[in-house]
């Protein structure tokens, strides 16, 4: 690409790079270069002033900006999927999948033979609840026995939380590990 040059033939980048030193012999004599230097000095000084102002404490982002952005993300996640728990003339009680998943995870926490990887809750076509729990199971455990315990705890917790029977609880073992 052709470099656009000053009328005297000088590359403007050379003039810019020479701003910190005094004008050379050509720049002292050449009116084009003198005018270019003056304009460039104004631009450089304005840029420096703006950069210094940018570092001013009063323009620094608030210390809690990052946590505010995280809380926005959480707000969105919590509202992602909601479903009705009670509906009557006085209004409706709904809850989010996020809330129910948190309660189920907490209820399953004390079971030492498993680590919960994922909990999904959905509504069946008949309006009931279906739960899918993906777990890692500790090496040496009997899978059916542990799965039954997981299923029983999850069902009990959902009944306590929502006073609704669960139509289906699927327990999937994703991995077996030693701990």
């Amino acid at each position: 690409m052709a470099v656009e040059r000053l009328a005297c033939g000088r590359d403007p980048d050379d003039v810019w790079e020479g701003l910190d030193r005094g004008p050379d012999e050509h720049e002292r004599e050449c009116p084009t270069c003198r005018a270019a230097r003056e304009s460039m000095i104004k631009v450089r000084d304005a840029t420096l002033t703006m950069r210094e102002r940018n570092d001013a404490p009063e323009l620094a982002p608030p210390v809690n900006l990052a946590s505010s952005i995280k809380s926005l993300a959480r707000v969105q996640v919590r509202r992602d999927r909601t479903f009705s728990v009670v509906r009557d003339d006085a209004g409706e009680l709904t809850t989010s999948e996020w809330a129910v998943v948190q309660t189920v995870r907490r209820a399953l926490d004390p079971i030492e033979e498993i680590r919960v990887q994922r909990v999904r809750i959905s509504q069946t076509s008949s309006g009931g609840l279906a739960l899918t729990i993906l777990i890692i199971i500790s090496f040496g455990q009997r899978v059916p026995k542990v799965a039954d315990e997981v299923r029983a705890v999850a069902e009990h917790e959902l009944r306590r939380q929502l006073r609704q029977a669960v139509e289906r609880v699927d327990v999937r073992v994703g991995d077996i590990r030693e701990w």
């Binding site: 608030p62 809380s71 919590r78 009680l93 809330a99």
Partner: protein
């Protein structure tokens, strides 16, 4: 009639008063960790902080999580909240719903509809 610091005569409380009263009632419900502001309310709050930073003025916190629609003697309230761990979604949610419903009936509204959404656990 006095209702949590608000003097009520023949007039019904206005939207801001209702929002404040509802927020106070919900926060005092056992098991409620906090109100959960909507995405729009959260964005407004951050924008308010940012504009306060530039103008030197900070906006007061709103009663985020409470949305009030009034039409004459009809009130429709939507509440988003977060409960404490180990609490029951249905117990806390129903108690908050009943508390607000009673509050508004006592305040003079004829038709009251209260929708509560329990969106998470915290605290």
């Amino acid at each position: 009639m006095y209702l949590q610091g608000t003097v009520l005569g023949d007039d019904l409380p206005d939207r801001d008063q209702v929002r404040r009263l509802v927020a106070e009632r919900v926060r005092s419900t056992p098991g409620v960790a906090r109100l959960e502001p909507s995405l729009q309310q959260s964005l407004s709050k951050i924008a308010g902080r940012a504009s306060g930073l530039l103008t030197g003025r900070q906006r007061p916190d709103s009663d985020g999580g409470v949305h009030v629609t009034l039409d004459g003697t009809t009130a429709h309230i939507k509440i988003d909240l977060v409960i404490r761990p180990d609490e029951s979604i249905i117990r806390v949610g129903d108690e908050a719903r009943a508390g607000v419903w009673n509050l508004l009936r006592e305040a003079g509204f004829d038709v009251v509809k209260v929708d509560v959404a329990v969106l998470g656990l915290d605290g």
